[in-house]
Symmetry: C2
Amino acid sequence: METSGSVQDYLKAIYSLGEGATTSAIANRLNVSSASVTAMFKRLATRGYLRHRKYQGVELTDSGNQLALEIIRHHRLIEMYLHKTLGIPWDEVHDEAEVLEHVLSERLEDRIADLLGHPTHDPHGDPIPPKNGAHKEVAHLTLGQFPAGPARVERVSDRDPEALRYMGELGLKPGTAITIEKQAPFGGPVWVKIRGQRHAVGRELADSIWVGPRNK
Amino acid sequence: METSGSVQDYLKAIYSLGEGATTSAIANRLNVSSASVTAMFKRLATRGYLRHRKYQGVELTDSGNQLALEIIRHHRLIEMYLHKTLGIPWDEVHDEAEVLEHVLSERLEDRIADLLGHPTHDPHGDPIPPKNGAHKEVAHLTLGQFPAGPARVERVSDRDPEALRYMGELGLKPGTAITIEKQAPFGGPVWVKIRGQRHAVGRELADSIWVGPRNK
DNA sequence: CTAGGAACTTAGTCTCGACTAAACTTTGAT
DNA sequence: ATCAAAGTTTAGTCGAGACTAAGTTCCTAG
């Protein structure tokens, strides 16, 4: 019942695309051809990790779901570990975790979780699934969707190191209190006050930052 | 020029077997069939990592040698890191390192080496090859070969966790000063005084412990 | 100096995970 | 309601790395 890194990558992608886990979405995410995805869907279905309705996309079974969560837990624990303990900058940890997640032993996973005090979120604000537990991701509004007023950064996308570095400069990190001053219309920027400084955040960036209400 | 984990395992095995890198020795070490080894020899030869003289075994080229040393450096650095920083017992680090060695990035390698203060030896006393540097392993006598008198443990085999655990109990760790009292003949044990205690060390164990003269 | 067994190589398969090209659904626009 | 484009699947290949079975070559004991 060993799962290869490939299988794990597919399960992770399917999980995170949720309802929209179609052949081409996965192909796009993983940079492989659609034909390869269909082939993998078959393999994964016979292993009982998902159900494949022809031409209609795919849905994880419980065991597929569990496996996906395990990998995501690995990924986010590793990100946290690399950042906190080895001091790897937050824009670099994703790529490292992408490969380490596939080879983390139970032993090391437990040891790392212990050392970190069983963190609930990684450096980008992504929640770390508990070991063998249920897990649901809380939905947030993006910075571009949130109404003007006080707010707090909850989570940022970890996919683009460039963007992360820029967010870091601005101080847009999970937990930071900000004030949204104005949502400029027609694709204009979001005006945000961060640490007393006003910044114009472009639409593209604003869509990869999730915010919530300020803690009362 | 990417090298797979398999390729790396072969290079490492060939390096550590040195002159004796024959088809069957490698097959035995890696638990694969001889035919698989011959096939891999061909691949590695066309990539310029070794020279294969039919029926005569194999010899690494400079670039093969360098690659092997890089993996061995990874392995031993990781062992040291896991032991020192994560507190993984010395009999468990080998197996973990065996998989992590293949995926350690330059970035992490450097960071870990820095954090550890650029160690020269791993927890078992194996020397850590320097980055892109020449490396030669010093030959030691085994505990079973060393003459009676004062001695010091230099290095122990990391292959058998059971044995390592037992050595740990006895206090047979690299750096430990011991006194060899008697080499019993005909496969008998070696009588050794460790931390004031006398122990009979069986031949098999004595052959996986290397010792040197006590530091004057 | 030769016979036979051990060691090695060749030949032929298999699985995994990728690919392209071609055929088939589904869907959306007219 | 049709029909083309978009999306999906099938068919056929490929390379890596493993295997078994069947030859070759080497070496050593007699």
